[in-house]
Amino acid sequence: MTVMEQRGAYRPSPPPAWQPRTDPAPLLPDAEPYRVLGTEGAAKCDPALLRRLYAELVRGRRYNAQATALTKQGRLAVYPSSTGQEACEVAAALALQEQDWLFPSYRDTLAAVARGVDPVQALTLLRGDWHTGYDPYAHRVAPLCTPLATQLPHAVGLAHAARLKGDDVVALAMVGDGGTSEGDFHEALNFAAVWQAPVVFLVQNNGFAISVPLAKQTAAPSLAHKAVGYGMPGRLVDGNDAAAVHEVLTDAVRHAREGGGPTLVEAITYRVDAHTNADDATRYRGDAEVDAWRAHDPIALLEHELTERGLLDEDGMRHARDAAETMAADLRERMNQDPVLDPADLFAHVYAEPTPQLREQQALLEAELAAEQGGEHR
């Protein structure tokens, strides 16, 4: 007998009990980006940490300048600069412990360098002699990722695998504001939250995805608010305040390490340079906007704090600059040497063992190369 047939006997019943899966309130980001420098909180910072951050920022700025110069000399095919974003780059690397993993995007060579990757190897992709110039296992830095946000699920999977094995490993994955529109951003955050994987997602909101401003990218209150939809905390931080970014990331890493699951951190910063040396930023933004951000420069902010409190003097600044110059000179010299190329590499690592078809193609290339060399000698 259907419900219709037993009319009169049927009593409407309420739906089975519903309640929110989790309380959203603690997940919400603060109303304002978190700041430390220039606030009372700065006094609580470890002076040694602030000096370390300062030295790394100065070195990072010099690295960006040197890499940009190398594009003009034809030594790099392209360079996506992180000038103005050094606080995020450096803090991401410094927030991690040795056994942890960093998952950088193509704009994050500086984070890789700050974690210990040789700058020449970090720039291999952009020089063009190979795709990844370093062994990812040497410093636990995943290959620089060009397709946007696709490295985020890798970070989740790696962190999940480490946890399954009982290892104390946190993964920190970096992405830009444009990357948050990609499906892989969504899927990575969802998997991370469902699995409670020990991952920290750092979104550097630098204002632009090449030319497209954030307003055309999202209607969310902030990118940090997106965390709430996945059931993880979202944190909003001033991305040019190195002490604040370092603190927020360190807290998120500790939270993940202690089994608290993932965190989404949005760092508000600004891409001072164009997207790459091949881009013309004057087509989509004015000088006034750039100047306003230059006035909120991460190095100047930290330098001001340190000098005001007597933690840094002229000697200290010169020392940081000298160390940066030494790095730049070494980078310049080594990048000015032509890389050694081996065409056999084209076939060596496609499979564990080349297929018969690849062996044939390699033989063809070897014959071409032999003919080229023979031609030179004629």
Partner: protein, 334 residues
């Protein structure tokens, strides 16, 4: 000895057994995908694995194919050996960016430092009366991507042996399971599983002297049936089961065609830009002076996969295969 599939007689059960044995042999093997845990997969291929090995090793993931494969990449980076199930051929497409931009080339990008031993199981092909998006032959997409192995079994024994080999491989393997053969049976004895088959070797399923049918996966039984029917016409057809599309076994295929002098490639995938064009070219390059006729293709039409009530017109069947054989210029011999 096991609670899982104690009497595998169908291809699906042999696949279950292969997953089970691989998981038992190697704790780094993890199965993941949609509905693979509690339910045992929509085709029941992962039946019992979550119960025996726990949900950490046979995991129901969120419903997102790019996320499934993307997280599998990270797991493989950390030393696990993920076996990913894509629920249906056409549902694997969201994962293509991960597959093409990362899975296929991570070893290459990193100079060999970061191989990704991932097996991607994809139920594929038609003939099961599936509605839209449940019957695609997607092998040409995978074949066109360097860095992937592409494997497909046609027998119960090969289903076991090739899946074990795929999981043991240090390279990513796209393992295409012909879903209309899931319930096919043969005399495979589950208590004495087949040796692990090396990937990359074709096999002659039926020896013959008149012409070679080159085929794989769901079309193998159709070709064997066609070969039986061809006897009435006086043709003694050889059937080569490729088993592996990448790497391709040129040697076995060319040796067969040199013996017979004629060849037809048979597959469900469309012919334009499909595997048959590549295979015909390879055979022609190697066997030109042995060929009595052009290499022909019998394939699905170059149309979106049809609705189930029309699919029998689309799929290569015995008649279409015999018609092609009839066009192999037999008059030249008289």
């Amino acid at each position: 000895m096991t609670t899982v599939a104690v009497k595998p007689a169908t291809m699906a059960q042999a696949l279950t057994r292969a997953l089970h044995d691989a998981m038992a042999a190697d704790p780094s093997v993890h199965v993941m995908g949609e509905d693979v845990g509690t339910l045992g997969g929509v085709f029941r291929v992962t039946d019992g694995l979550a119960k025996e090995f726990g949900e950490d090793r046979c995991t129901d993931t969120p419903l997102a194919e790019a996320g499934i494969l993307g997280t599998a990449v990270g797991m493989a980076m950390y030393g696990l050996r993920p076996v990913v199930e894509m629920q249906f051929d056409a549902f694997a497409y969201p994962a293509f960016e991960q597959l093409i931009s990362h899975v296929s080339r991570m070893r290459n990008r990193t100079h060999g430092a970061m191989p990704l031993p991932i097996t991607i199981r994809v139920p594929y092909g038609g003939g099961i009366g599936g509605v839209e998006h449940h019957s695609d032959s997607s092998e040409a997409y995978y074949m066109a991507t360097p860095g992937l192995h592409v494997v497909t079994p046609a027998t119960v024994a090969d289903a076991y042996g090739l899946l074990r080999a795929a999981i043991a491989s240090d390279d990513p393997v796209v393992f295409l399971e012909p879903k209309r053969l899931y319930w096919s049976k043969d005399s495979w004895n589950p208590e004495h599983p087949t040796d692990v088959e090396p990937i990359g070797r074709a096999v002659v399923r039926r020896p013959g002297r008149s012409a070679t049918l080159i085929t794989y996966g769901p079309s193998v039984p159709v070709c064997l049936e066609a070969a039986e029917a061809a006897r009435a016409e006086g043709w003694d057809l050889e059937v080569v089961d490729l088993r592996s599309l990448v790497p391709f076994d040129d040697e076995t295929v060319a040796a067969s065609v040199r013996r017979t002098g004629r060849a037809v490639v048979v597959h469900e995938s469309g012919s334009f830009g499909g595997p048959g064009g590549e295979i015909a070219a390879r055979v022609t390059e190697r066997c030109f002076h042995h060929l009595e006729a052009p290499v022909l293709r019998v394939a699905g039409f170059d149309i979106p996969y049809p609705p189930p009530m029309l699919e029998r017109h689309h799929l290569p069947g015995v008649d279409r295969i015999l018609d092609a054989v009839a066009r192999l210029q037999w008059e030249a011999e008289n």
